[in-house]
Amino acid sequence: MNPPGSLADLDPNLDEHLSTQILAPSVHSDNPQERIQARRLRIAARLEARRREALGEYLDGKKESEEDQSKSYKQKEESRLKLAKLLLCGTELVTNIQVAIDTREIHRRVEEEEIKRQRIEKLENEVKTSQDKFDEITSKWEEGKQKRIPQELWEMLNTQQLHCAGLLEDKNKLISELQQELKTKDDQYVKDLKKQSDDISLLLERMEQQVKNVMKTFREELCNIEKAFEVERQELLASNKKKWERALQAHNAKELEYLTNRMKKVEDYEKQLNRQRIRDCEEYNTIKIKLEQDVQILEQQLQQRKAIYQLNQEKLEYNLQVLKKRDEESTVIKSQQKRKINRLRDTLNNLRSKYAKQIKQFQEENQSLTLDYQRLVLQFKELQKAMRHFALIDDEKFREIWLMNEEEAKDLIARAFDVDRIIHTHHLGLPWTAPDFWFLKNVGPISQQPQKSATQIVEEMLMHTEEEEAEEAASEPESYLDLPKQISEKTTKRILMLLCDESGFLVESKLLSLLLPLEQNECYLLRLDAIFSALGIESEDDLYKLVNFFLKYRAHRLSSSLQIKSCSQASTEKASMEETSMGSELELAEQTEMEGEKEESLVEGEKEEEEETPPYPWVIHPNDVVKILEAFVMGLKKPRDSRAPPRVQKNVRNNSKDSEYWQALTTVIPSSKQNLWDALYTALEKYHIVLTQRAKLLQENSSLEQQNTELQALLQQYLNSKINSELQVPPTQVLWVPKK
């Protein structure tokens, strides 16, 4: 599309621009102002050129393109149109024949139809008329049959014959007509055939003509197109040649210009060179002189330098010698050091090996020792087990022995009591009352009483206090627990209630929700249980410690608050002094507490004053409970930690009471009674002696009586015997006397 002419048009513009630029301020000039101006001009020129170009193209772009393309394009288009027209016309011409034949055929068909119709009509008419005639004839035959007269019959037959002949003639006529028609049709057919062949030949001719025409025109058009292309090419060539020549001319001119410029420049440069050379020569001379002077100075300096150099050389040589010596020495030392290092390395290696050996040895030792240790531990455990076992057995045995002994003792005591009672009742005639001692009820080893857990106590206590309240009997129970000593049941309860209320945070929320529906006491109990478990209170002792701690704390608070009143400064020391007097296990707790208190006491001083006034001095402020608890827990921790070892000893029951017990058992019978018994014994001894004497005497008496009787018997015998009669003097006479 881009027309070559436009390029040609643009070229002079460019040339103009170039020329103007050469004349106008140059972009490459030294003056900045000029450069700026040049750039502005350039931009303006470009804009101008663009505008002109656009305008030009807009105006005559289409025309130009038409013109430019035309030569070939137009020719092509022209020939295309021509050929298309030719083809169209040709085909029309050829097909015209077909169309004409078609129309003819249609006409023929129409005519044929018409003729056919007429013919059919005619035939039908003919059939009708002939049928009529035939009917007439046949009817006449009927008539003829009735005729009897031969002449009439003949006449009728004749007429019939005539009629039949007429009918036949008609038919024949029709047939001949039809045949005539057929003949004409045949002729027509032949004519048609001829016409068709003519048509076909015409068609062929036309087709040939058309082919020839088309070929010819195609050739012509091809020639035309080629010519057009040729012409265009020639033109293009010419224009390009012109352009080329112009460009060459311009180039030559420029070349010439450049050449002259160059010559001028060369001359200039030559002149400048000459000038420069002269100047340089002069300069050279001056510099040469200067340099020669410099050389002289430098030579002098060189001499000096040489002298110095000599000196330095000597010095350096000396130094070198020295250094060499030193070097030798150092080498010697080095070798020595090396040797030393070697030696040391050897020793190091030795030591290392030794060390390794030792390590191994120790490891082995360690291993063996650990093995030993493990074995020992095992042994120890076994021993412990055995010991525990034995302890159990011992306990059992001890218990059995105890029981046995106790039984024995009890037997003995019972016996003694029996004896005593017998003595009292029988011998002394006094009323006897059985002495009531605690140890008499005792069965089994003493100190094996089970220690109650804190909760149990609390439970008991709660129950107890409740009962108490119900009874309203203020009388102090003889303490099923013989302990809290000076602490009353109520205060304990109050303290515990306080604790329960204040330290709800120690109870799990889940538990609390569970506790809601329960009874108050149970609720308290469970809560306290949870709190104790959280605080680590397990045993009865711990509980009492807690209660004591509360009480003590309050007491201390009271005192401290009092002291604050008097002298707040000394209070701390004093408190601490007092603290020392308190249980040793509390010391730490108290101290830590004190530190907190020091501040609190100051802050709460006023509060405490108010608190003091309330009528019931035993009240512990609920706010303090937490602090107290904290202190208590801190205090409790320490003994807790150190409790583990003594726990083993706990199993060892203390024998202290045993001896007492046993001692008590021995002294069931008091010494006064023994004295009594001794006296009684002596008296009875005497009585016994008497009695024994008496018995002896009685025995003697009886034996004597026996002897007497025996003797009597003998006497009797003798008396009764014949001998007596025979005897001059009969003994019986003699013996009559006693008989009387």
Binding site: V99, E105, I106
Partner: protein, 501 residues
């Protein structure tokens, strides 16, 4: 060249020169006169430069004299050449082709005689060049373009056509064609037969024929004039795409008889069965065969729901309205793209049924109803159908007794329709007013490229104006195509179309 090479090769062994000299002395003596003057003129140049070797120079001279200028290695043919010659000579008995190297194959094929039996060559040789020679030998005029550009296909198609043309039922052995079947089945795609000979009964038939034409016609028994049954052949050709049949006898001359041109019912039934069985058939043409309504319906029934059929040509027959109705049914039951019913006896009812089928058809591109008699009723029906049809591009209604009412409707169609490119209304009675109305319709149309209104009583002015509009449309179409090559092709495509239509 040969001489110089041999001399240089024989230069070095000086001893052997003696024998060559001896050998060639007898033969070379006569020819020595020829080369002698030329050779010495060459030899002196090195002789002068190599003076110290006069012996060598002498030897060379002598040998050159002894040279046999006619001796050449080419005289002895190469063994491969000999083998190839032998193969060519014995190709009929022992066809060896595929085992050879390609260049040797080429050589063999170039020298094979085109007269070799087809049983040998048919499936073995694919070379077009060989078949080109075969064709050129048999037929003076060959249009290879009509046969898909393949000479082999052309050879077999024309060979088969020849056999079919001269097949006489009853006398010719059917094996002639069936033997060829396995050889040509892969190559024949188009069967074009323009004559089917009836069975020979001439000696028996001529006598009554001589007595009276009409009588012999009436007494003619139908089965006796059956033609060749195409069933086996069509079933055997696996690539058959086009079937172009004319039940006709050519060059009968004075032996003309009406019964020579009979397309019998049996023919019709067998043909219908054959084309029904052929699922590759795309184009079916049955022209100039006196196909009447019943036969047309039989054939069309067999074509219903055919998978690939695209073109049906039943022109120059005797098909009436019933046949046209059958064709209309076929339109809605197949993928038919081209339907040609030119020169039949279709009247208004047939055209109406065709129009009804056309109204909703999406396949048909071309419809030809030239030289029928559909008249205005049929023409109006077709015009109505074209208002809804979006597929038809070519419509030929030449010679159909159409007049102004059709023209008015068609002008409305022209304003609406954008697919029609060619309409032919020649040889009708459209009249002046109809022409004007068509001109109006044309003014709104931008797609129609051809509109034939010759000999239809249209005013010249309106015809000229319509021509202008068509020219504008053609230019627009050309611009749309943009590609100049495409334009050329359209022009060339238009050319034959015009000549045919």
């Amino acid at each position: 060249m040969q001489d110089t090479v041999t001399t240089s090769a024989l230069l070095d062994p000086s001893h052997s020169s003696v024998s060559t000299q001896d050998k060639s002395s007898t033969g070379g003596h006569t020819s020595s006169t020829g080369p002698q003057p030329s050779k010495p003129s060459i030899t002196p140049v090195p002789a002068k430069s190599r003076n110290p070797h006069p012996g060598a120079n002498f030897h060379r001279m002598r040998r050159i004299i002894a040279e046999d200028p006619e001796w050449s290695l080419a005289i002895v043919p190469l063994l491969t050449e000999l083998c190839i010659q032998h193969i060519i000579r014995n190709f009929q008995k022992n066809p060896i082709l595929k085992q050879m190297l390609p260049e040797h194959q080429q050589k063999v094929l170039n020298h094979l005689s085109p007269d070799l039996p087809l049983a040998v060559t048919a499936n073995l040789i694919d070379n077009e060049n060989y078949w080109l020679r075969c064709c050129m030998q048999r037929w003076p005029v060959c249009h290879v373009a009509h046969h898909g550009g393949s000479w082999k296909r052309m050879f077999f198609e024309r060979h088969l056509e020849n056999l079919l043309k001269h097949f006489i039922p009853g006398t010719t052995d059917p094996a002639v064609i069936l033997d060829l079947l396995p050889l040509c089945r892969n190559y024949v795609r188009r069967v074009h037969v323009d004559q089917f000979l009836p069975p020979v009964r001439l000696p028996a038939q001529l006598r009554p024929g001589d007595q009276s034409d009409s009588g012999s016609e009436g007494e003619m028994e139908e089965p006796t004039v059956d033609h060749y049954q195409l069933g086996d052949l069509v079933a055997g050709l696996s690539h058959l795409e086009e079937l172009d049949l004319v039940y006709d006898v050519k060059d009968c001359g004075m032996n003309f008889e009406w019964n020579l041109f009979l397309f019998t019912y049996r023919d019709c039934h067998s043909l219908a069965a054959a084309i029904k069985a052929c699922h590759t058939l795309k184009i079916f043409k049955l022209t100039r065969s006196k196909v009447d309504d019943d036969k047309a319906r039989i054939i069309i029934r067999s074509l219903l729901d055919h998978p690939v059929l695209e073109e049906l040509d039943l022109s120059h027959n005797l098909i009436g309205d019933r046949g046209a109705r059958g064709a209309a049914k076929l339109l809605s039951h197949s993928r038919l793209r081209v339907l040609n019913l030119a020169n039949n006896q279709v009247r208004a009812p047939g055209a109406q049924s065709l129009a009804h089928a056309l109204a909703h058809n999406t396949n048909l591109i071309s419809l030809n109803l030239r030289l029928n008699c559909i008249e205005d009723e049929g023409g109006q029906a077709l015009a109505h159908a074209l208002q809804t049809n979006k597929c038809l591009t070519t419509l030929h209604l030449g010679g159909n007794e159409l007049s102004e009412p059709t023209a008015t409707l068609l002008s409305q169609v022209l304003a609406i329709n954008t697919t029609l490119t060619s309409i032919n209304l020649s040889c009708n009675h459209i009249g002046l007013d109809g022409g004007k109305q068509l001109l109006e319709g044309m003014s709104d149309n931008k797609t129609l490229l051809e509109f034939d209104l010759r000999l239809s009583d249209v005013a010249q002015e309106s015809e000229y104006l319509i021509g202008q509009a068509l020219y504008a449309n053609r230019e627009a179409a050309r611009q749309r195509a943009l590609n100049p090559n495409h334009f050329m092709s359209t022009i060339t495509a238009n050319g034959p179309e015009n000549s045919v239509g």
